[in-house]
Assembly symmetry: C2
Homo-oligomer: 229 residues x 2
Amino acid sequence: MQVDIGKSILDRNERLAVENRALFDRHGVFVLDLMASPGAGKTATILATIATLRDRYRIAVIEGDIASKVDAEKVKAHGIPAVQINTGGACHLESDMIKRAIAAFDLDELDLIIVENVGNLVCPTDFYLGEDAKVMILSVPEGHDKPYKYPGIFQVSEAVILNKVDTMSMFDFDEQEFRSVVHSLNPKAPIFSISATKGEGVSAWTDWLAERIDAAREKAKARPSNGQE
Amino acid sequence: MQVDIGKSILDRNERLAVENRALFDRHGVFVLDLMASPGAGKTATILATIATLRDRYRIAVIEGDIASKVDAEKVKAHGIPAVQINTGGACHLESDMIKRAIAAFDLDELDLIIVENVGNLVCPTDFYLGEDAKVMILSVPEGHDKPYKYPGIFQVSEAVILNKVDTMSMFDFDEQEFRSVVHSLNPKAPIFSISATKGEGVSAWTDWLAERIDAAREKAKARPSNGQE
């Protein structure tokens, strides 16, 4: 059963996403859309990513939540520009929210914007925001059966982060089964096992991200429309 | 920002919920709508509840998921009738799905139906299914800040279960702050700290539920329209 609200909202979202994309291209900014359940460790992963990459890239963060501004405050406490979006009730971010949020940044002063989507394994899946990549986090306490139940989000993600691996011994989590199901849904996506709060495994993830950022830059340089001449 | 799909879908849902409600009343069935994030332990809590209450009440379960039937199979393995609803993509259950699911049960042979809603702290909040009570689960690994971010679901719940308390030492979870914020959002809701897999604290929760079920029965008996004469 699908509620057929879809087409006009998605069309409008898509149109604005393309505008966002053009803006990011013009300013050479790489945008990551990070999706996960509530409490999977999105903010902790963002902070770990910032700690590793801040000397290499100029980073800003857009935090999406139904309510509250606790996450943006956490990021700002680390000296990183952050904007909080409160959706009021909507369970995902949309392109127009991103469009308004980026108005707070000087895009020429940024290399990477990390967007923390609303905590949810369903709604963010269908909404293109103009990002370069969607990446999702699953945390060990959520259980290895989640790819069976929420296949869509595993399919649209270009990489999957398995967080809180330091707590593996406390939970009945079959990592081999998890990797095998994710692989069957999405053969190309790498899976990074990390503990964001302990720093474990983070460098493999940030190496992948840095490679993606650098590749996008090379591609942008090669485009004649982006040249300075 | 709220997407205004709302009124006609909610109206239709409400109308069918009232029909479900009338059916539950006619057959004296208590219906619980259990909501939580993916992996918070809904199915484990249902299994613990069944283990405690199965000698006292005749129980059935409706499992809601985007995809898969793993949860219904887990419940059936315990000899309890279960129906799996796959929403396809919708992030919550609606009344018409419940209406179709209960057609699989003989309601005269049941005292309690537990509905496991789709894993999500947002969407299920607004949809009345005809249930007697909505109850939500938050698990310790998700973090004590969730009531700030998802206030709505804490407000519509008649009781809040805090699950996985056996893992408290692994996480930076401030239980006192959690209880105080939940209390400020919803002063009447009791908060039950449990470990569904270890059985810890489960009896306080099931005592509360049994009291609610018995009270609903007494009320039903007192209604003249429900008499046998």
